[in-house]
């Protein structure tokens, strides 16, 4: 984090979604690096996001990938708009 403040849950979701979006189809380790998170935390969040329908888990034998769902894309779009809004007001998200 740039300002030493813990990320909000919504931001963590957005960071994970951005990481997956950048890869198109991402393995947890790739997401971990891109989203700058510990593996255990990431797994916990991914499970939560899968349950909420933001991401979809694709298993191919031992290989696991995640993709962003339509709902996830909508969330990301809304989050970015919100980010612009809060920045304009000088508030932190």
């Amino acid at each position: 984090m740039k300002e030493g403040r813990p990320r909000s849950r919504a931001r963590i979701f957005a960071d994970i979604l951005t990481a997956i979006e950048a890869e198109g189809e991402a393995k947890p380790t790739r997401i971990m690096y891109r989203a700058n998170m510990a593996y255990e935390r990431l797994v916990k969040y991914l499970a939560e996001m899968e349950k909420s329908g933001l991401v979809k888990r694709i298993s191919n034998g031992e290989r696991v990938h995640y993709i962003v769902t339509e709902k996830g894309n909508y969330f990301l779009k809304e989050f970015r708009r919100l980010e612009d809004f809060t920045t304009a007001f000088g508030l932190k998200l």
Partner: protein
């Protein structure tokens, strides 16, 4: 003419009401996404502002009669101000509860303390001093008392100006230079006053 003015005011207030509600909508939607309390306060503040503009617009249109006798009208106006006050209080809270507020508060506190409170005290003290020296100068009419008076008057003016310079940020940096220069000048005047050899008429009685 008066009616046209009223309609124009109603349209302007109505437009502002729509904008305020749009801002509130975005803030509250943001709160729903991020559960950020700042956005909740911001949204609530803008809702109140929206209500204020809506009521203003309706009263300009005559839908809400501002009414007579006068005390009712003032009560209505007072309630509008109260709504505005609550709105700005909520908006301010959105910023206050931010983590960096502590930092901002310290900064504002320091500025207020150094620029206003302490400077105001300094201005009062210098005014008393300069006033006393002026009385002395009027009594004696000597070069030394004139120099001391000039010195204290200069210091008084510097600090008095400092109280207002905070409102002109681009002059603030310059103010340090001019303050130091004029302080030096005033102390030089004091130095001259105490070091210059007193003439016969200036000997203390």
């Amino acid at each position: 003419m008066f009616q046209t003015l009223q309609i124009t005011e109603a349209i302007l207030s109505g437009t502002t009401f729509i904008i305020a509600f749009l801002v509130a909508y975005r803030a509250l939607k943001g709160y729903r996404i991020a559960f950020n309390i700042n956005l909740l306060f911001l949204g609530a503040g803008f809702i109140l502002l929206g209500i204020f503009f809506l009521l203003s617009s309706l009263s300009f249109l005559g839908v809400i009669p501002r009414g007579y006798p006068y005390q009712h009208r003032y009560l209505y106006d007072a309630s509008l101000y109260l709504i505005q006050f609550a709105a700005y209080l909520l908006i301010m809270l959105a910023y206050v509860i931010q983590p960096r507020f502590e930092e901002t508060a310290v900064l504002i506190g320091t500025v207020l303390l150094s620029y206003f409170l302490l400077n105001a005290v300094i201005v009062i003290l210098l005014a008393i001093t300069a006033g006393s020296v002026m009385i002395e100068y009027r009594r004696r009419q000597t070069a030394s008392t004139a120099l001391v008076l000039s010195s204290f008057a200069l210091l008084f003016i510097i600090h008095l100006l400092d109280l207002f310079l905070i409102f002109i940020p681009h002059i603030l940096i310059l103010s340090t230079i001019y303050t130091v220069t004029f302080e030096l000048l005033s102390f030089t005047l004091l130095f001259i006053a105490i070091e210059r050899p007193a003439t016969k008429g200036e000997q203390s009685s």
